[in-house]
C-alpha cells in the first residue's frame, strides 16, 4: 500500500493544534511517518506540495477570500480532516459573530476599518465536505494519531459521541459541581480525558456538543447550582457560539 500524502493547512487560528500534532515521542513520530508521508506542514517542514491525499485543516474561515483556497484543498484531497475547535466548530472565533462585521471592523481598526477583510466566522464544514473532525482547544495528540491511523486503515475516525462525564467518572474525579464550579462536561463531546475538570477547572466546551444534548436541562442544572442565566449563556458562548440551538441571534 503506498503511503498516503498528508498536507497541513491553516486558516484563522493560533496554529497551536498543529504544534500539538507534532507533540509525539520520537518513536510515535517515526511510526506515524511509517504510514503517512507529510508533504506540506508549515510548522515543521519547508516543502510545499500541490499533490496530497489527506488534507488536515486548522482554523476557521473568517474571510471570503479564504474560500477559494479551501475549495482547492478540498478538490485535491481524498480526505479532509478538521483539526481543532476553530475548524471543527468555529470555537472562540464565533464570538465575533455576535457583532455586526462592520461594527467589529470599526472597533478593532478604527483608523482603517476596511483595510482588513473579515466576515462571519465559519467552520470548515459550512463551506466544504468534511470527512473527519479532531476537535479540541487544543486537540488531544493521541486522538489525532488515532484518527489519522483509522482513516489510513479505511476505518471510521471513531471519536467519542459520549460526553466528558464518562471520562471524568472513569477517573473517579469528584464532580466539580460539588465544589461549586459550573462545568459543561455533561453535554460536551469527550476525548480530552476530562483534563480540565480533573485539574480542578471546568469543561469550557471546546470539543463541541454531543449529538442530541439536553441543553434545557443543562441550563436548569447550572442555574440550580446558583449560576444566573446570563452567565450560563456566556459560558456556552465561549466555544459554542455557532450553535443556533443555543444562540438564535448569532449570525
Amino acid at each position: 500500500m503506498p503511503k498516503p500524502k498528508v498536507a497541513f493547512f491553516d486558516f484563522t487560528c493560533c496554529e497551536g493544534c498543529q504544534l500539538c500534532a507534532l507533540d509525539l515521542t520520537a518513536e510515535q513520530l517515526l511510526d506515524l511517518l511509517a504510514v503517512i508521508d507529510i508533504v506540506e506542514f508549515r510548522e515543521a517542514i519547508s516543502e510545499k506540495s500541490d499533490s496530497f491525499d489527506i488534507a488536515i485543516v486548522e482554523g476557521s474561515i473568517t474571510r471570503d477570500s479564504d474560500i477559494p483556497r479551501l475549495e482547492k484543498i478540498r478538490k485535491t484531497a481524498n480526505l479532509l480532516i478538521c483539526l481543532g475547535s476553530c475548524s471543527c466548530i468555529v470555537g472562540i472565533n464565533a464570538l465575533k459573530n455576535f457583532q455586526k462585521t462592520e461594527e467589529l471592523q470599526n472597533e478593532v481598526y478604527p483608523d482603517a476599518p476596511h483595510r482588513y477583510e473579515t466576515s462571519v466566522a465559519r467552520a470548515v464544514d459550512e463551506i466544504v465536505k468534511v470527512d473527519a473532525i479532531i476537535p479540541g482547544c487544543p486537540i488531544n495528540t493521541l486522538e489525532f494519531v488515532k484518527v489519522v491511523k483509522n482513516l489510513v486503515l479505511g476505518k471510521d475516525p471513531d471519536i467519542p459521541t459520549y460526553p466528558v462525564c464518562i471520562e471524568c467518572k472513569k477517573k473517579e474525579n469528584i464532580c466539580v459541581y460539588e465544589k461549586g464550579i459550573h462545568c459543561l462536561g455533561p453535554v460536551i463531546r469527550a476525548g480530552c480525558g476530562a483534563i480540565c475538570p480533573e485539574k480542578g477547572g471546568y469543561c469550557f466546551g471546546c470539543r463541541g456538543l454531543v449529538p442530541d444534548p439536553n441543553l434545557d436541562s443543562m441550563r436548569e442544572i447550572m442555574n440550580k447550582y446558583n449560576m444566573p442565566y446570563d452567565q450560563i449563556d456566556d459560558r456556552f458562548k465561549l466555544f459554542l457560539g455557532r450553535n443556533k440551538e443555543i444562540f438564535q441571534d448569532v449570525q
Partner: protein, 348 residues
C-alpha cells in the same frame, strides 16, 4: 439472614489486621480503600498504612478490578496469529461493603451464566474478597435498606465486623477459611460480640424506611408500568451523560473495538465499558436505533435493575449503593422512581 445458625466467629485486633495486610502484600496485590486527590477510592496499596480508616462511598465500585474499564481480550499480528488474552493476578480486595458484595454476586452470575466469561471469572477465581459489614447507612443517598442489600449472604470469602478496637470475622467458604487461617490466625470469638454488633445494626437499620413496598414483586410491577408517565418526566431532566452507568456496581454492558498499533504490525481487540443511556448504544449497522428516546433508555435501565435482571438473579440488580444518585446532576434517583412506580410515594 441466618443469624440463628451457630456459626464460628474469630477475632483479630486492628493492629493485627494491619500486620496481616502487610503479610498479604508479600503474596498478593491488595486493593483497599485509600485516599486519592482528597477523595477515597478503591485502589492498590503498597502498605497497610495507605488504607483509609474512615469509610466513605467511593465514586466507582470495586467491579473495576474484575471488569476493567478497558481490557484486552485478543492480541493479533498482521500475519493473522490471534491469541486470547485472559489476565488475572492474585489479589485481595479488602474492605468492600455489603452493597458491593451483593453487586458482585449479580456480576458473578451474569458473567458465569450460559457462557462462562474467562476474562471476568479468572480474576474472581484469583481473588480473595474480604468484606466489612456496615452497622449503619453510610449517607443520605444510599438506600441499601430499601433492597435489603445491607445483608450479606454470599459474594465474599471473608466477612469482617468492625467492633472498634478489633474485628471479628467469619469465613464464607473454604477459600476464605484457608486464607483466614494463614493470615488472620484462628483466635475464636464468642457469639456475644457478634450478637452485640447485630443488635446495633438492626437498631440502626430499624430506623430506616425498610424495604420497598412489594419488593419481591417489583418485576411484575415494572412489567406493567411501561407506559407510566414517569419515564417521560425523568427524560426531560436526564442529560444522557451515562454517569449513572459508569458508577453502577452492577452495570456490565460493554463495547468491543479493534485497535491496530501505529506500526500496523500488531493489534488488539478490547472491550470497554459502555452505557445503555448513551444515545447510540442500541444502534444497528444502518444507523437505526431501537432505543432512540431518552425515556425509553431510562425505562430500560430501571427495568434492568428491577425487572429483567431481578427475575434472573432473584435479587434486585440495584443494590442501593447510591452512587448514581450522588453522580446525577439532574437528581434522578432509582429509589424515587421505584417509590413512585409502586405507588408508595407521590412525586413532590
Amino acid at each position: 439472614m441466618n443469624k440463628t445458625i451457630n456459626r464460628p466467629f474469630f477475632q483479630i485486633t486492628k493492629d493485627g489486621m494491619l500486620a496481616a495486610i502487610d503479610k498479604m502484600l508479600q503474596d498478593y496485590s491488595v486493593a483497599a480503600l485509600t485516599e486519592k486527590n482528597k477523595n477515597v477510592v478503591f485502589d492498590f496499596v503498597k502498605s497497610s498504612a495507605e488504607i483509609s480508616n474512615v469509610y466513605k462511598p467511593t465514586i466507582l465500585s470495586p467491579k473495576k478490578f474484575f471488569f476493567p474499564q478497558e481490557e484486552v481480550i485478543l492480541e493479533y499480528t498482521a500475519e493473522g496469529k490471534v491469541t486470547a488474552i485472559i489476565e488475572s493476578k492474585p489479589m485481595v480486595l479488602f474492605g468492600i461493603r455489603p452493597c458491593d458484595i451483593n453487586a458482585k454476586k449479580v456480576m458473578d452470575e451474569a458473567f458465569a451464566e450460559s457462557n462462562g466469561d474467562a476474562n471476568y471469572l479468572s480474576k474472581i477465581e484469583n481473588s480473595v474478597i474480604i468484606g466489612i459489614d456496615c452497622k449503619q447507612v453510610c449517607d443520605e443517598d444510599s438506600f441499601c435498606y430499601r433492597v435489603n442489600s445491607q445483608e450479606v449472604t454470599t459474594g465474599c470469602d471473608i466477612l469482617l465486623y468492625d467492633l472498634g478496637e478489633k474485628y471479628i470475622f467469619e469465613y464464607k467458604n473454604e477459600k476464605g477459611r484457608e486464607f483466614a487461617i494463614k493470615y488472620f490466625g484462628s483466635q475464636g470469638s464468642d457469639h456475644g460480640a457478634y450478637d452485640k454488633f447485630l443488635k446495633e445494626k438492626e437498631s440502626n437499620f430499624g430506623k430506616t424506611e425498610g424495604p420497598f413496598k412489594d419488593l419481591e414483586y417489583l418485576p411484575g410491577v415494572f412489567e406493567h408500568t411501561k407506559d407510566h408517565p414517569i419515564w417521560e418526566e425523568e427524560a426531560k431532566r436526564c442529560l444522557s451523560c451515562g454517569s449513572c452507568i459508569m458508577v453502577c456496581p452492577t452495570c456490565y454492558c460493554f463495547d468491543v473495538a479493534d485497535e491496530l498499533a501505529l506500526n500496523l504490525k500488531e493489534g488488539q481487540r478490547l472491550r470497554r465499558w459502555d452505557a445503555c443511556m448513551l444515545s447510540d448504544f442500541a444502534n444497528v449497522a444502518t444507523g437505526e436505533s431501537f432505543r432512540k428516546e431518552v425515556s425509553n433508555r431510562i425505562r430500560h435501565r430501571m427495568n434492568r435493575k428491577f425487572n429483567f435482571l431481578m427475575r434472573k438473579h432473584h435479587q434486585p440488580a440495584c443494590v442501593g449503593c447510591g452512587r448514581c444518585v450522588r453522580a446525577c446532576l439532574a437528581d434522578i434517583s432509582p429509589k424515587e422512581i421505584v417509590e413512585i412506580i409502586t405507588g408508595e410515594k407521590e412525586r413532590e
